[in-house]
């Protein structure tokens, strides 16, 4: 650990290990990475510091992720809604994305990440947003409107079991739980 950065107190470290899927090293690495994001003058109280979203998304692990803003939003505990992350939020995020996390909690958070308007269900608008995130911003990769409609139609047909036009959490988790490679790709490692 760097000399300037205060380290995690041991009892808290133990609690973090108890509460996350991370090992001690991973927590310490996370702490180090997080303290690099915190401006110098706030380094003394890292555990209470918050890192604004603009800085979080510059992390190489999130840089290329199309869901970076959603991830920040979902894991942020900021009251004023600026999506800044505290160290504990950061740990929460890493825990969910870690190797050891169960696919249940992974799918729970995946649902919240995909739920762009935070209304608890994935409706057509959310799915559209999702497709746009997945296909990138380049012109060549965008889907046409008819293709988009068709795609969303198909997805709703498959997953929307109760036919209310939206996908809710349990439907989502049902679909995800059958997928062979969701857990292996829903991972972020520092």
């Amino acid at each position: 650990m760097g000399g300037s950065a205060s380290s995690v107190p041991p009892d808290l470290l133990g609690e973090y290990q108890e509460l996350t899927f991370l090992t001690k090293q991973e927590i310490l690495i996370a702490h180090k990475r997080f303290s690099e994001l915190v401006p110098k003058e706030e380094r003394d109280q890292i555990l209470s510091a918050r890192v604004p979203k603009d800085k979080v998304v510059t992390l190489p692990e999130l840089r290329a992720n199309p869901f970076q803003h959603r991830i920040c939003r979902v894991f942020s505990t900021a009251e004023d809604g600026d999506d800044s992350l505290s160290f504990e939020d950061f740990l929460d995020m890493l825990s969910v994305f870690s190797d050891a996390a169960t696919s249940e909690i992974k799918s729970h958070y995946a649902f919240r990440i995909f739920d762009f308007d935070d209304d608890g269900t994935l409706d057509r608008k959310d799915l559209e947003n999702l497709v746009n995130c997945l296909t990138g911003d380049a012109d060549g990769t965008r889907l046409s409107t008819s293709e988009m409609d068709q795609l969303i139609q198909n997805i709703l047909e498959e997953s929307d079991i109760d036919k209310d036009g939206t996908i809710n959490l349990s439907e989502f988790q049902h679909v995800i739980s059958r997928s062979p490679d969701f857990a292996s790709s829903f991972k972020i490692v520092l």
Partner: protein, 854 residues
């Protein structure tokens, strides 16, 4: 109430005693300050005594009797009270126990809760404090100390496990390196490196076995170099034995070193340990295979267990593409761009109707092309096989000639490496004729490369076998010569011992047999080394130089090199994995005749870990078609198992049926290599063991045993099939249920107003029936209530589009619906269904319970 509660707790605490924890002691003290509680406190202590045992209670009673009367009276009343209290406290104890267990469970599963860290922290602290406070209270009577001890040990154990896990993760080598690759290229490329690491681990164990049990004992305790003919370089070769060119071909000193079979002595026991080296050699040779088999199969079984999701499920093609296709490990913008593109194409591909692609009128042309491609590839395979046979034959004539150049000596290895290098791209070009879907194409490609490598290896082996047979006949002649020479020598020295002074003949001068085992070992070592070199050179030239050229010449070139023709190399996962697997096959085959081969392989894997990591990070671009890692894992393991089996065959054949050389190796002088076992059993074990062994080895016993095994396999297979069948049945059932559910809902949306009212009337009951289930049901019900008026149009649209495809066939291909755009007109056909659909409304909560999503 509060006081009572506290009092009961105190009882329990006093029961346990003060040694449990400090908090307990402090509690009564603080309460003694209050006047009121004084009175309650005393009964409490009585209770404690009472509950701790009947005898004690009586004792205290006796003591108390000496006190004043009213005191006695009060106490009598109190004892009655306490009796009731004890019962109460026991109940309380039970409840408390439950609570503590609950809290403990909560603590251990807290990480599974989707809560914020702050909430988790407070809850955890509360729960921990609770457990800390009351855990000690749960012990009873004599068991309390033991209980406290158990609790303490459990805590320590948890802590130790956590520390051990931390330690274990720290011990995994190259974790960071692989993660770095993973973040650049996604999980599929990383899976290759994980495979490489696994292979390294296996080889390390094999190396430890061979090195520790064979090489080290021979070097330390066996006869030293130069003491015997087999451990000495022959006189004729001694002049050049240390030249680099000779050493590079694994001749000279290397050939007569512990790296190869020929060096080992056939002495039964060596050194002061009486180490049975020939026996050890044989057992290690077997256990190398045994260990590898066990490890591969165990890994396969574990992989199979882990992949719980059934990948062939066609229900959620689109949803999976949508929800699980992004690889969150990707941290590199370039890779991300590729991923975007590949996801888009996969979306488009799946949207485009299969019928349209099948409309291709040139089906005959395509068939013809596919047949043509296969014929071409079979020609290639045969050609490469013949070429290798030819070359090995030629090398045998070369080996008899003197003064041959470098090329002639290494022709076999060069040809094999070149074939391995150029055939796969050739196959890929030919495969372009076939126009398969990329995934199927990859399977074909892998199968063909596999066939090529395997064919090459086996022709090589066949040719080698010819060579060995030749050597065996040659050996017979030399054997006689050697005997004759030795005899002559001693005779002559006996006749005129006045002129010849040295009685023992110099080991370098004794005529040698060809020692075919060492020859085979050398062939494998050379093959491995040349394979390593070719791989590294290919990486260096094909990847690194190409990348350099593309990057730096791009500034002054006519076209865009990076996007255009040469571009950067992709990391070829399947090719690399196959290369690794075949290399391992050669190691397995060769390790019996060249114990040092495993050491070379360990070095190779170690260097290629670093080298390939570097090459990938510096000069490769991610694959265009990004494959998922999880599914192909067991495919590669299956190939590995196949190779292991195929490499076991020739080794087993040589061990069981070929006579070992007469003057080299640990088994010299025996008729068969496997005679070592026989010998050990006869000489070192008591007679009855030998008898038992001879009975066991009797064909009369072995054949029934094999039969039994075959029957067992058959039975297990049948059971597995039955399970599979049952599984499929269940799946079908679930699908049917889902269809029903859907149909019901579809019909609901189009029913008339009367049934809608009825439905509105019924929903509360449905709600109460399904209340135990989470949000899904309540939500769906509420939407059902609301939907008919507002959403009718859209619902009908959705459901009717789904209806014909889903209802008609059991497993409807999702594209069917695409060709029939959602039309309102289908509505007309539904009323008939609608009436039948609405009638079993009351059953809905029941059916929903069987719904797969809960």
């Amino acid at each position: 109430m509060r006081k009572k509660g506290k009092c009961a707790l105190e009882v329990i605490m006093e029961n346990v005693g003060m040694e449990v924890d400090g908090q307990v002691q402090s509690d009564p003290e603080s309460e003694e300050d209050e006047e009121e509680e004084e009175t309650i406190q005393r009964p409490c202590s009585r209770e404690a005594i009472k509950s701790s045992g009947q005898e004690k209670n009586q004792q205290t009673k006796e003591v108390d009797e000496s006190e004043e009367e009213d005191e006695i009276f009060r106490r009598k009343r109190l004892t009655r009270k306490t009796n009731r209290r004890v019962k109460n406290s026991e109940e309380e104890l039970e409840r408390l126990k439950e609570q503590v267990e609950e809290k403990k469970k909560l603590i251990s599963t807290m990480r599974n809760k989707p809560w914020r860290m702050a909430k988790k922290l407070t809850v955890l602290r509360e729960a921990q404090a609770f457990v800390e406070k009351f855990e000690g209270a749960l012990g009873k009577g004599k068991g309390k100390k033991f209980y406290a001890y158990k609790v303490m040990m459990a805590k320590k154990w948890v802590k130790f496990k956590r520390d051990f896990d931390n330690f274990k993760t720290q011990c995994i080598p190259w974790e960071m390196k692989i993660k770095e690759v993973e973040s650049h290229f996604g999980s599929s490329v990383a899976s290759y490196f994980i495979f490489l690491r696994w292979m390294y681990g296996v080889n390390l164990v094999l190396f430890g076995l061979i090195f520790g049990l064979v090489i080290i004992p021979e070097v330390l305790m066996g006869m030293p170099y130069g003491s015997m003919p087999r451990k000495t370089v022959p006189r004729a070769e001694q002049a050049t034995a240390m030249d680099f060119s000779v050493l590079w071909d694994f001749e000279g000193y290397i050939k007569y070193s512990a790296l190869f079979y020929g060096y080992y002595n056939n002495q039964r026991t060596i050194g002061w340990l009486k180490y049975r080296l020939p026996m050890a050699y044989f057992m290690v040779g077997i256990s190398v295979f045994g260990y590898s088999l066990v490890v591969v199969i165990r890994t396969m079984a574990r992989n199979a267990n882990e992949s719980t999701g059934d990948g062939d499920d066609n229900d959620f093609i689109f949803s999976w593409k949508m929800f699980t296709s992004w690889d969150y490990l990707i941290g590199n913008p370039e890779t991300a761009d590729n991923k975007f593109a590949s996801i888009t194409t996969s979306f488009k591909e799946s949207i485009v109707d299969e019928q349209e692609s099948n409309k291709d009128e040139n089906i005959h042309l395509r068939r013809f092309l596919r047949v043509l491609a296969n014929v071409l590839i079979i020609c290639c395979l045969c050609g490469s096989g013949y070429l290798i046979y030819f070359v090995v034959k030629r090398s045998q004539t070369f080996s008899k000639m003197q003064n041959i150049g470098w090329y002639e000596r290494n022709e076999v290895e060069i040809v094999m490496s070149l074939l391995g290098m150029f055939c796969p791209p050739l196959f890929e070009t030919i495969a372009a004729l076939e126009n398969y879907h990329p995934r199927i194409g990859l399977k074909w490609q892998l199968g063909r490369i596999f066939a090529l490598f395997l064919g090459n290896l086996y022709t090589f082996l066949l040719a080698l076998m010819d060579d060995v047979n030749e050597k065996l006949t040659e050996e017979d002649v030399i054997k006689n010569i050697t005997h004759w020479t030795l005899l002559n020598y001693y005779n002559s020295s006996a006749v005129n011992n006045s002129t010849f002074s040295p009685p023992p003949i110099d080991p370098a001068d004794v005529p040698r047999g060809p020692c075919w085992e060492t020859t085979v070992g050398i062939e494998f070592v050379r093959l491995t080394v040349s394979d390593i070199l070719v791989t590294y050179i290919t990486i260096l030239v094909g990847d690194f130089l190409r990348a350099c050229f593309v990057r730096f010449m791009n500034y002054c070139w006519c076209w865009d090199l990076e996007a255009g023709f040469p571009s950067y190399a992709e990391f070829d996962i399947s090719g690399n994995v196959l290369g690794l697997i075949f290399n391992q096959g050669m190691i397995w085959m060769g390790s019996f005749y060249a114990p040092g081969l495993v050491g070379i392989n360990v070095l190779r894997l170690l260097t290629s870990m670093y080298f390939q990591c570097w090459a990938v990070m510096s000069s490769n671009v991610p694959h265009e078609r990004v494959f998922k890692a999880s599914k192909s894992n067991n495919f590669y393991m299956g190939l590995l198992l196949l190779i292991l089996f195929l490499s076991l065959l020739p080794v087993a054949y040589t061990i069981m049926s070929l006579p070992p050389s007469f003057d080299c190796g640990p088994f010299s002088g025996k008729k068969k290599m496997s005679d070592v076992i026989q010998e050990t059993i006869e000489l070192d074990f008591p007679a009855f063991v030998a008898k038992i062994f001879s009975y066991v080895a009797n064909p009369g016993l072995i054949i029934p045993a094999i039969l039994l095994m075959v029957l067992a396999i058959y039975y297990l297979n049948a059971v597995a099939e039955a399970y599979q069948h049952a599984n499929a049945e269940l799946k079908k059932k679930m699908q049917v249920q889902r269809e029903e559910e859907k149909n019901k809902r579809n019909n609901k949306a189009t029913t008339n107003l009367a049934t809608q009212d009825l439905e509105d009337f019924l929903t509360p009951s449905a709600k109460s029936g399904g209340q135990s289930q989470p949000t899904a049901d309540t939500k769906s019900d509420s939407t059902n209530k609301n939907s008919p008026g507002a959403k009718e149009g859209s619902m009908a649209k959705n459901s009717n589009a789904a209806c014909p495809g889903r209802g008609a066939t059991m497993v409807p291909p999702p594209h069917v619906t695409i060709t029939q755009p959602p039309r309102q007109s289908i509505k007309a056909s539904s009323p008939g269904q609608a009436r039948s659909g609405t009638s079993p409304q009351g059953l809905r909560p029941g059916t929903r319970k069987g719904q797969p999503c809960n």
